[in-house]
């Protein structure tokens, strides 16, 4: 380096000089005297191992994949661009391309934005290093392990999955569920009741003096209240009355639609007497399941158990279902990479000349204006590095999707890199199509690679 500075043209970019020395060395015989670099032979000797390795490990596989992608599954039949046509016509492949698009649009922006926010916020706090360390920590975990962690995080059961545990806790603070979720009326022609709008109604209007029997089945053992007592068929007494009970004798043997001994009443049910679509009276069942409408005018009423009695507890979202799967996996990706983005951006932030910021502040700029007009433009090279790196990372995302998505939603979560593996090795055994997908992925990544390389050069210039 110091030798170079003494050279004839110190302003000439370094790469130009090396390229001249490497490729067209012998042609410039006059300048060889001046050049202080190694002779071409030595240069080649030093380049050879790297070139050989690159050739064997990078160039040859790319060329062979390109070649292989023009053949069918067995590798003997030439299909031309047929495999590429399949990529753009097959429905499931189009889903993978669509998913990749969502990934490329959403994930890098979220990661970069979050990284920027973290970096700016931690710049001023006292425990910045500790905070950064924690945010950066997921980087120490392999993506595979991160996938296993998030498979659990997104588990649908709130007692296992953190995501749904939080959602249900928040939800239950505002409204709690009670009653008999998933219980239903006894069905069939003999039954006097039927399901309607999530509730239960009597098929025939009932009158005072005739006891109303409402048989319910499918009550989960866990939801059966501890104070429930054996059901009793109501007899006598004034007004409209009846029994709501669990029409199932433990161990079997009970007659359907009849209150048998050993069958328990369902306490705490809200019962409504409905006339002409209007609720005329409400009652609540006692511990033995009996209810009685007090002060109801004589006449016939439809007896209804409203839907509220059967409301299922809120169990959070189906994170790993077909609709939410891609956002859920992107969430895991952000968790892993946000720390990386933050550290890079924080380093960039530290390199920003303070005087520029101070000058702006003295000129009366608000903090927001300073951030928008000074910090962001000065940071833009770093932001671009992070952004482009993330684009490349999202294009080749594989392990997170493979691990997090249950196999029943893999078709909906699929991305190109995973499809490539599946088609070529994971069961499909079509290495032709797999190679075509690999080349497709390469073409997608290439522009960003070139962009990155160009920028590196510009910076080094």
């Amino acid at each position: 380096m110091t030798e170079r500075l003494d050279g004839p043209a110190p302003a000439v970019p370094r790469e130009e000089e090396t390229s001249r020395g490497g490729a067209s060395g012998p042609a410039d015989t006059p300048s060889t005297k001046l050049r202080l670099g190694p002779s071409p032979a030595v240069a080649i000797a030093f380049l050879l191992p790297a070139a050989l390795l690159l050739g064997v490990w990078v160039v040859y596989p790319i060329v062979y994949s390109l070649f292989r992608s023009l053949f069918d599954a067995s590798g003997s039949g030439f299909v031309g661009l047929g495999n590429y046509a399949t990529i753009f016509t097959d429905g499931s492949m189009l889903t993978t391309i669509r998913n990749n698009l969502i990934w490329v649009v959403v994930a890098p922006i979220v990661v970069t934005t979050l990284g920027l926010i973290f970096a700016v916020l931690t710049e001023r706090i006292r425990w910045a290093t500790a905070f950064k360390l924690i945010v950066f920590m997921p980087m120490a975990v392999s993506l595979m392990a991160a996938g296993v962690i998030f498979r659990l995080v997104y588990d649908e059961a709130p007692d296992r999955g953190v995501a749904n545990a939080i959602l249900t806790t928040v939800h239950d603070t505002f409204s709690s569920s009670q009653g008999y979720p998933e219980a239903r009326p006894r069905e069939g022609a003999q039954s006097a009741v039927a399901a309607q709008d999530g509730g239960v109604v009597t098929k025939q209007p009932a009158q005072a003096g005739q006891p109303v029997l409402i048989p319910i089945v499918g009550v989960k053992p866990a939801t059966m209240p501890g104070n429930a007592r054996p059901a009793k068929a109501v007899t006598g007494g004034g007004g409209l009355a009846g029994t709501v009970w669990f029409d199932f004798t433990p161990g079997g043997g009970g007659a359907p639609n009849q209150v048998d001994s050993g069958e328990k009443g369902l306490p705490g049910m809200t019962v409504e007497a409905v006339k002409d679509g209007k609720v005329a009276g409400t009652a609540t069942t006692a511990e033995d399941g009996s209810f009685r409408f007090e002060g109801l005018p004589a006449g016939s009423y439809v007896v209804r158990l409203p839907q509220d009695n059967f409301k299922a507890a809120y169990n959070g979202l189906t994170w790993l279902g077909p609709t939410l799967i891609t956002p859920a996996i992107i969430g895991a990706f952000v968790w892993v990479w946000a720390g990386f983005a933050m550290v890079l951006i924080a380093a960039g932030l530290a390199a920003i000349p303070r005087d520029a910021l101070e000058a702006a502040r003295i000129d009366g700029a608000t903090e927001w204006q300073v951030f928008r007009r000074i910090t962001i433009p000065l940071l833009s090279p770093v932001l671009l590095v992070v952004f482009v790196t993330m684009i490349i990372n999202t294009l080749k995302v594989f392990d997170l999707v493979f691990i997090i998505a249950p196999s029943s939603v893999q078709p909906q979560a699929n991305v190109v890199a995973l499809e490539m593996w599946r088609v070529a090795f994971g069961g499909g055994n079509n290495q032709g199509l797999g190679s075509a997908l690999a080349i497709f992925l390469l073409i997608l990544v290439l522009p960003f690679m070139i962009m990155n390389i160009r920028r590196f050069r510009r910076e080094n210039a």
């Binding site: 050879l48 649908e156 989960k220 161990g251 196999s407 069961g427």
Partner: protein
């Protein structure tokens, strides 16, 4: 400087030459050893010094048990056998090794479909007459056909899994007061009663699509009979055939009722295989799981006892045939060595089968392996059903299909049956989708 660089180049070249030279020298002794063993053949430890590599997907106890069988082979012949685990995805392991030209001597394929596929690629070696003779004495012709491609015998089924079982938690049946069902209609009636009692009758494993194909195959074999089963296996009748609709409608009888499936449709679709069995035996949330003999592992994990806390019944007859569907692993030779053939002959023999049968977790498709060898009552019972069902036993249909159709996550039959479970009313749509995928796979 120039001299030094030249020396570096020379050194580099020397290393490269040495590296290249390695390949032929290593293959030398292997070739000569197999040649020498071929010449000595017959009597005693004929394969002394021969090294074999066997690749199979088994791990843990299954691997240990298999290694005991291999040890018996080593003691008998003197050949040294190393075991390589392929992991869950045998195709993904073997594919690159075949492409790279260094396959294991013997591979145990989890699906006969792979036999056809690899045979077409020319990656398999036809079995010698000695092995074929062993197959003829010990197996029904159906199994011989299964391991054959284009008229040549390539594989031998060495380990079977009994897939026509319904496992139930005895306590759940007692609580609901139901008896063991013998027919599909009885099963549905029992399921309704169990649902009324407040327990979900079925725990389906929607995330492990192979369990859904097993369910379909049992119903199909029972309703359509073995002949149609064979035709559909080979895609000689289309999936739009009315017999397929009948079987799918029977599945819809379960999938169409939310109260029949533990955690409803959405929960079912996220439940993979051992989890669904755990929902029955460990969490006690459900009553029945429809899967193979290996559910016994889940029962044991839940500290339950097979025969007391958990029982298995034959898959109820949904039609005229009592279905016996087997899964299983097929051993093939990937290198043309006498050691490989000797090992296959040993595994196909009564002797090899009986050594293995005494170990837990093994079921033999070999008709001459007496069920009395099995260590527990359940396996004995299963072994007897296989022997007595004779020619009516069928192999798992999805495993006979090209793996793109019947063996890949998120593709083919696996995906469509999962979609059907989500939307059980659309029998016609499912059939059309199955036929479209089958056409692609069988072309």
């Amino acid at each position: 400087m120039a001299k030094a660089s030249a020396a570096v180049i020379l050194a580099g070249l020397a290393v490269a030459v040495a590296a290249c030279g390695n390949a032929p020298t290593t293959s030398g002794p292997a070739a000569s050893s197999s040649a020498s063993s071929a010449s000595t053949g017959g009597g005693g430890k004929t394969l002394e010094g021969v090294k074999l590599e066997v690749a199979a997907k088994w791990t843990g106890d299954e691997q240990k048990n298999f290694e005991q069988v291999l040890k018996a082979f080593t003691e008998k012949t003197g050949a040294k056998v190393t075991y390589a685990s392929t992991g869950e995805d045998t195709g993904a392991y073997l594919g690159p090794r075949i492409q790279g030209g260094s396959p294991p001597d013997v591979a145990i394929l989890p699906q006969p479909g792979l036999v056809q596929q690899y045979a077409k690629q020319g990656a398999l070696k036809p079995l010698t007459d000695a092995v074929t003779k062993e197959i003829d004495t010990n197996y029904t012709p159906y199994w011989k056909d299964l391991g054959s491609a284009d008229g040549k015998v390539y594989g031998v089924l060495i380990k079977a899994a009994h897939k026509s079982l319904v496992w139930y938690r005895t306590q759940a049946f007692q609580d609901a007061g139901v008896q063991e069902p013998a027919t599909w209609d009885d099963l549905m009636k029992a399921a309704q009663t169990i649902a009324d009692s407040g327990t979900a009758p079925f725990s389906l494993c929607g995330a492990s699509a192979w369990t859904l194909t097993d369910l379909f195959e049992n119903i199909y074999l029972s309703t359509a009979g073995p002949e149609k089963y064979d035709q559909l296996s080979k895609h000689e009748i289309p999936w739009t055939d009315p017999s397929v609709a009948t079987a799918l409608e029977k599945i819809a009888q379960i999938a169409g009722k939310q109260e029949f499936m533990v955690d409803g449709t959405s929960g079912t679709m996220q439940t993979d295989f051992p989890t669904c069995a755990n929902k029955v035996f460990a969490n006690k949330k459900s009553a029945m799981v429809i899967e193979a003999d290996f559910v016994a592992t889940s029962v044991a994990q839940a500290k339950g006892k097979v025969g007391e806390d958990a029982k298995a019944i034959p898959f109820p007859k949904a039609g005229d045939t009592a279905p016996v569907v087997l899964g299983g692993d097929v051993a093939v030779a990937m290198k043309d060595s006498p050691g490989a053939m000797a090992l296959l002959e040993f595994l196909a023999s009564k002797e090899g089968g009986e050594i293995w049968a005494k170990l837990p977790g093994y079921l033999s498709p070999n008709k001459n392996v007496s069920p009395d060898n099995y260590p527990d009552a359940l396996t004995k019972q299963l072994g007897q059903t296989i022997v007595s069902a004779g020619d009516a036993v069928r192999y798992d249909m999805s495993d006979l299909a090209p793996s793109a159709f019947g063996g890949t996550d998120g593709k083919g039959e696996w995906k469509i049956l999962q979609d059907f479970l989500r939307k059980p009313t659309d029998v016609k749509g499912a059939q059309a989708a199955l036929e479209a995928e089958a056409k692609k796979a069988w072309k």
